[in-house]
């Protein structure tokens, strides 16, 4: 039999509730209900509602819309398979998640816990420099490291030997320059020491050119670091006079 969609018209306007009673021998399927709910004179916030009651007056079904503030109005359509326009879960797109310690945990109180600290996540780098460091002839000393901007993978509570905050594989780059001349034939040694249980040292050994000059040292490497492991950046001065150095730029980036 063909579907005959009809409208029951001429229902009066007035104060809620308003009801329509099926009479006679009628039997039909309810397809939709629409009405304007004018809350200008409402005694409080309200939910637009359609109830289906049995002949005995029992509520068989109750469909509600979104909350309307007292004084407000809503033009509400009720129909099967519609999604409520208000309340419920949020919608939208997460475009960016930033984490300063290199891990993100998302917890759904009614669902699983997802730890996103896994391969494939790109961690932000931390950018550092140092105080000026003057090293006496035949001596060595560690740089005092400062955070400049970006992520903070290092704990600088001990700035001469900062520690790793979160376990992971890290990439390091260090750019050091002398701010006083290195004499011809005299050398300096820059060392990045990664003090894991298996100590890793990365060195750059530079000798002053003829006439002496400012010199630069470059250090780069990767290593698995555990939380609490420290690292140092030091200079050894093999000149006959004091030489001053400074870390111009240093990056520390967690890879995994």
């Amino acid at each position: 039999m063909a579907v005959e969609t009809l409208e029951i018209a001429s229902l009066p306007s007035g104060g809620a509730p308003i009801s329509y009673t099926v009479s006679g021998d009628q039997v039909f399927d309810l397809i939709g209900v629409r009405a304007v709910f004018d809350g200008t004179g409402a005694g409080g916030n309200f939910l637009p509602c359609v109830q289906i009651k049995s002949a005995a007056g029992h509520i068989l079904s109750q469909s509600i819309g979104s909350s309307v503030t007292a004084g407000g109005s809503a033009d509400v359509s009720f129909a099967p398979f519609l999604r409520s326009t208000g309340g419920g879960g949020g919608t939208g797109t997460i475009s960016d998640i930033t984490s300063t310690d290199g891990s993100v945990t998302i917890t759904n109180p009614t669902g699983p816990t997802t730890d996103l600290s896994a391969h494939g996540i790109q961690f932000a780098a931390g950018y550092y420099n140092s105080n000026s460091l003057t090293v006496g002839s035949g001596s060595s000393a560690n740089f005092h490291i400062n955070h400049v901007f970006g992520a903070t993978p290092l704990n600088l509570a001990t700035p001469f030997a900062p520690t790793i905050v979160t376990t992971g594989v890290y990439a390091f780059t260090v750019d050091i320059q002398s701010t006083t001349n290195l004499a011809a034939g005299r050398s300096s040694d820059a060392v990045l020491s990664l003090n894991t249980p298996q100590v890793t040292s990365i060195e750059s050994y530079v000798t002053g050119p003829t006439g002496g000059a400012l010199v630069a040292f470059g250090l780069a490497g990767t290593s698995l670091m555990s939380a609490g492991d420290n690292l140092t950046v030091s200079m050894g001065n093999f000149d006959t006079v004091n030489v001053t150095y400074q870390i111009i730029a240093m990056t520390v980036q967690r890879l995994t």
Binding site: T5, I8, I18, R34, A42, F46, L60, D75
Partner: protein, 68 residues
């Protein structure tokens, strides 16, 4: 200006004689009627395929207005 809204109804709900479709406004916490809400532009759409008499819906006031 009434803000548009939509809400789900149970699918394929068959209404028989004596049953009622009630439009009302209720309190979110108590479920009680909120007084002072005025209803207008009311329309109820039905499928009369299973009705013994497809030419009349209701007795007292309803007038059939085909919409499709």
């Amino acid at each position: 200006m009434a803000a548009p809204q939509q809400a789900p109804l149970p699918p394929s709900f068959v209404l028989a004689s004596g049953m009622q479709v009630v439009l009302t406004a209720i309190d979110a916490t108590t479920g009680n009627l909120v007084a002072g809400v005025n209803l207008s532009n009311i329309s109820i759409s039905v499928d009369t395929s299973n009705s013994p008499d497809q030419n009349t819906v209701g007795v007292a006031a309803p007038i059939l207005v085909p919409t499709t």
